[in-house]
Symmetry: C2
Subunit: 625 residues, 2 copies
């Protein structure tokens, strides 16, 4: 082990209190699986009793999906320089189909490893990477297709269920009928269902064998809708310690995966710190780093440089790669008359390379070579939409849909190699054209998971594109997108800061949850119901705790009614103590309970005589105390 | 005229610079109508030339809808104590069907007028109100049905067109085909079309004859989607001067109408200041004030008190009244088993009254009496959804839809009186249930304009309900809702401050515009296209100016790249100067232009020989200067 780079560590150790403090009202719980080392973390939100006024019953705790990893677990000691505990290491090792390498096998990785100038920024605790033994395929898809339910698959099944059986037993599962547009939504997620979905290619479980620290999760149309947050430095700003903190911040608010889009100076070292400390899958766009290796000159990119980059990153533990293999030479001219041309960075790099060489995209021609790398580490494809529309005018055009057809063709090749694959999509698309995207993706790509940026439903709101895009994201999530890539308020304008990341994630958690409700995922409405009941009963703290952002909710409430006593107040801050519709509703409820509900005729008949009695009692059912 | 209340005026005169400063990059223009005193204000955004690098052409200015009134017109002197100029006074007077009253006719109004304790808060410049002469009906619907095109209707036609002919002539009208779900979207709005829509009841033009200061606007499914912002003090906070400033702030960002939901001490006087200074229609919920008159005891409300309140407000110039006449006795018990009961304040007041008296809602039994008042001043109905769902669980239930059916019945009665009518709707509704609301409203209410709160598509994000609801608002707007009532981030938590109002309005301007794009309103895409072209060409200032919030966009950009020079920078702040997809796209575009576009086979054939030349030229088409 290298010496601890004290300079960096001082920064890294200082994860702000804000990013690691416990989430108010919650505790981390672990649901055990079939083996001792399989414990699935969830977040349990304890609720108060209903006030006597409203019935006085107990309210069962609500279990929610937890992406925050050990950072919100008070029982875990966080040491960024050591990295997280490799919870999957044993599972990987006991499959006996991979082996630790004697050293890094990428040229670039080896060069960085031995460069003394990097010792101050290098992650100190790196162990040797693993790779599939010769001829083996370590992808979850490969296991799934051979009928093997891995611990990862079981983990995912438990995680997706979110202790739904408790809810079912408590009789709290009633909800509106969903409209899933043909998805295969399950009443209960079994490990076998997870296996089957992965085997069919309808879901992916991204977890590189070199990222044993990751908590398994699944991306597929028949599971809960996921969201991705991007982090990354750039030529303009940002540093390593800042990036790790961004990761922890993003998963605190609910990012299911994080893409590291760094393009700066210590891209390799930054990534190592991030992967070692990430409980969520990490995705990258390897062409960004490959481009740096040729000093930004796209035409000098070669398959060999790119290949070495894939191996370098696969051995660090990156879980999915965006690969823009669908940017074919013949599609490039189709973008020339667009209003905003090619807006994907990866897409534009490949387009430039194609034009410069007048050759077919080398990612396309070497696609099977890439598959060979992917399956040796279990890296999943995220087939990039290099030709996605950058504005409303360019939506659903020939370039975009041509590329999508090619991505469908590539999906089948990847599946031939048992390599897990998802498909990137949208960008800017007006509402009436969103469903066509989803339908075409399902048809062309054999139901491989769709992973979309937004889409933004209008171009006219720079500064608010988390909202323009949350609208599109909710809709496309409903239609069947498996993972939504977030957009922050700074989109098109600048680099997101911490508040922007939080705002972007919140907008996307909302979109994903709205999609889950609309699809009719069993139990999706449990949290809504619990929160609304708390709201009605003036259980303010419960309302905050059940929200996606308990801290913001409390802060907003405190602005109007700062006194602690008001957390118990039986009125809302909107109307004040003397005028409150919920108070009046309780009158209605009490009255109806006393006189029979639903039998409106009988009620009407009985009410004339009772109304006088009601008025005599003060016509004010709410009596404090 | 009363003496100027100097204490209040000091406050009122101090409209912050922030709420009245000119909108960057814009100027107010006036499009003339058929008479000299008909000049329709719009906002024209001037654009820079395209840089030589990208073609060097001129970019025509973009005209956008302007709700901000004289406040953003540097040629207008604002004097809050005098109120705005009564631009419609002559149009109203020359119809010879109304007359100035000798004095206020409401008891309450007269009492307030003569209360010396109120002199310090009373609006000083009040003139006597008008009322229809005996037997006359001054509603725009009445004129419309008699075939009269009023100046108000012509004004609206010009306003809705937004100088579209200029855009058409410039060949910039191409856009995606919309999906309007059966709306009658027009290529060009004529005064006759406006008249016909009002006559049919498919649109309303809310403009009380006692609010001659208002700039006519129209609410209907076949016109641009509108948004409403709520302002109002409450028992907990706020004051008069603050409310006027909120109005000016709300219309600056794009509120098409403003509802004054005040419930505090000087509700009558506050309203007068607001109406006199408002260029947009003002709506109220008269039952709130009526309840104050009986000290908050709903059961003591009487038709007489309510009637006096309607007259009081109608004579002040309120343009539309929310009237909860659909909260029938038989529906009240249907809410008892809801998770959140009755959440509408008005709905709960009427429910309580019905229960206390065991009588039918007096707004329902006196509905035709109300119609008589409405048509004497041209106040429009906003038939209130007192039983709207307050959470996802309660959406689309028997109480909600029962009330909607009654609102349909009442619409037909209002139309019998030629009273303009819109229908309030939604609340909390998951995405898969939104369209049913719209379809049922269209069917039950004969296409009377729908005016919906959100809907919020999930309950779990207190602090972010402008987003949960913008998703639903965009969708229901697309499906046919004519006006969207905004929700701020403080919904359910507290009173919105200035930033919250701005955030709420922005979310709703986005939703409304996304809806217009999706419906396919002619010209809806012009601003998107202009902004995206500016974005592609690195015309940063133009991008800011074309945005819904130029100030925020610039502020965000400045955070990353604060130097003025960067406003001309040919790279984005996301990627920095050395790595930019737009830069590369320009290579593609230049290359394609040189070698032919679209003929991909020919291109492919020709490119092999050209690629060497391209590389020899440095493979870097971007050359500054």
């Amino acid at each position: 082990m290298n010496a601890v780079p004290t300079e960096l560590l001082r920064d890294a150790e200082r994860l702000s209190e804000a990013v690691v403090r416990p989430i108010p009202g919650s505790r981390k719980v672990f649901v055990p699986g079939s083996r001792d080392d399989l414990r699935v973390p969830m977040r349990e939100i304890a609720l108060q009793r209903t006030p006597t006024l409203f019935g006085g019953e107990d309210n069962p705790p609500v279990t929610v999906y937890d992406t925050s990893g050990p950072y919100t677990d008070p029982d875990t000691h966080i040491d960024l320089a050591a990295g997280l505990s490799p919870l999957r290491a044993q599972w990987i090792a006991e499959r006996n189909d991979s082996e630790p390498l004697p050293g890094l096998t990428s040229e670039f990785g080896r060069a960085r490893e031995h460069d003394p100038r990097l010792s101050s920024v290098r992650f100190p605790g790196r162990i040797l990477p693993r790779r599939a033994i010769a001829g083996a395929n370590v992808s979850q898809m490969h296991y799934a297709r051979r009928g093997i339910v891995t611990p990862e698959m079981e983990y995912v099944a438990i995680r997706e269920n979110q202790r739904l059986d408790q809810v079912r037993d408590a009789g709290l599962l009633a909800q509106h009928r969903g409209q899933s547009f043909g998805a295969a939504i399950q009443a209960r997620i079994t490990p076998e269902f997870v296996r089957d979905e992965i085997a069919r290619g309808r879901a992916i479980l991204p977890n590189n064998i070199n990222h044993p620290e990751s908590e398994p999760m699944i991306i597929g149309r028949n599971f809960l809708t996921k969201i991705n947050a991007n982090i990354g430095n750039s030529a303009v700003s940002s540093g390593i310690a800042e990036e790790v903190e961004k990761l922890v911040w993003a998963i605190r608010w609910g990012a299911d995966t994080v893409m590291d889009l760094s393009t700066g100076k210590h891209i390799h070292e930054t990534r190592e710190w991030i992967v070692r400390n990430s409980p969520v899958p990490i995705g990258t766009v390897p062409i960004y780093q490959a481009l740096e290796k040729v000093d930004g000159r796209a035409e000098e990119l070669t398959w060999e440089i790119f290949r070495d980059t894939l191996v370098e990153q696969a051995e660090q533990g990156v879980d999915y790669f965006t690969i823009h293999a669908g940017v074919l030479l013949r599609y490039v001219p189709l973008t020339a008359k667009r209003v905003t041309g090619i807006v994907s960075r990866g897409g534009s790099i490949l387009a430039k390379w194609c034009l410069a060489h007048h050759k077919e995209n080398f990612l396309y021609t070497h696609f099977e070579d890439i598959c060979d790398i992917m399956k040796a580490y279990d890296v999943a494809f995220s087939l990039g939409d290099g030709l996605r529309p950058g504005c409303i005018a360019d939506a659903n055009d020939a370039a975009q849909f041509g590329e999508l057809e090619t991505l469908g063709e590539l999906t089948k090749i990847a599946w031939k190699h048992d390599v897990q694959t998802m498909i990137e999509g949208p960008g800017h698309v007006p509402m009436q054209l969103i469903k066509e995207n989803m339908d075409k993706q399902l048809a062309e790509c054999g139901e491989a998971p769709f992973y979309t940026l937004g889409p933004l439903t209008t171009d006219i709101a720079p500064g608010y594109d988390h909202i323009t895009s949350a609208i599109g994201a909710a809709m496309i999530g409903w239609f069947g997108t498996a993972m939504l890539c977030y957009v922050t308020p700074k989109e098109h304008l600048g680099l997101p800061d911490r508040d922007d990341v939080r705002d972007g994630i919140m907008a996307y958690k909302i979109a994903a949850h709205a999609a889950d409700l609309a699809k009719g995922h069993p139990g999706a409405q449990v949290r809504d119901n619990a929160l609304s009941k708390a709201r009605f009963e003036f259980r303010w703290e419960d309302q905050f705790h059940l929200g996606l952002d308990p801290e913001k909710a409390k802060e907003f409430h405190d602005e109007t009614l700062p006194k602690d006593a008001h957390k118990l107040a039986h009125f809302c801050s909107m109307c004040g103590p003397h005028f409150c519709s919920m108070k009046i509703t309780q009158d209605v409820r009490d009255y109806a309970a006393e006189h029979g509900v639903g039998e409106t005729d009988a009620l009407a008949a009985g009410m004339a005589e009772k109304s006088e009695e009601f008025r005599a009692a003060g016509a004010e059912v709410y009596r404090p105390g």
